[in-house]
Symmetry: C2
Subunit: 102 residues, 2 copies
């Protein structure tokens, strides 16, 4: 029974991790149109997000969500996000490493 | 006389270009403490500026200058800048090329 409980816990955790991974993919796919598939901007008014500090991304998404930072598109995009989703998006873009071009 | 006029114009232009170059260096040296010497952030709450779209940088500095985008440090930094200085700073950071790390 204990092994069974542990197993189902492990399965639940791993399936939740997979859900989180697929949901962050779904979330960031909405950002890609302007910010690029890998977080390198495709539009003159959209910033690169790749490699930005995680705290900065987290804060700015929350400022967009509350409307304290104003941008028509971003206020709409951020409105439905909860704190966990914002943290996941911030971590996802932060993890894309950038460097100066040689 | 014509050659002399041309020469002094050229000298004036070149010295003005040098002035502009040195003034953008002076301006961006104030940004470096948080945004890094090459525009790669040194602080968790400061974004990377290297390689950002020039229009984005120009707009955001103007939003900071007017106070429409709120950040205590950036509102102070942007307040004394004129449009030309903002354009020069935006061009300077945009010119630092970045790429995804391999």
């Amino acid at each position: 029974l204990r092994v069974g409980t542990l197993l189902s816990l492990l399965l639940a955790t791993s399936s939740q991790a997979a859900d989180n991974a697929s949901s962050v993919q779904m979330l960031t796919s909405q950002c890609a149109a302007c910010h690029g598939v890998k977080g390198l901007s495709t539009l003159p008014h959209a910033p690169n997000l790749a490699g930005q500090p995680v705290q900065y991304l987290d804060e700015q998404l929350k400022l967009y969500r509350s409307g304290k930072r104003q941008n028509e598109t971003m206020n709409l995009m951020a409105k439905p996000l909860n704190d966990q989703q914002i943290a996941a998006i911030a971590a996802w873009y932060n993890a894309i490493q950038i460097q100066l071009a040689p």
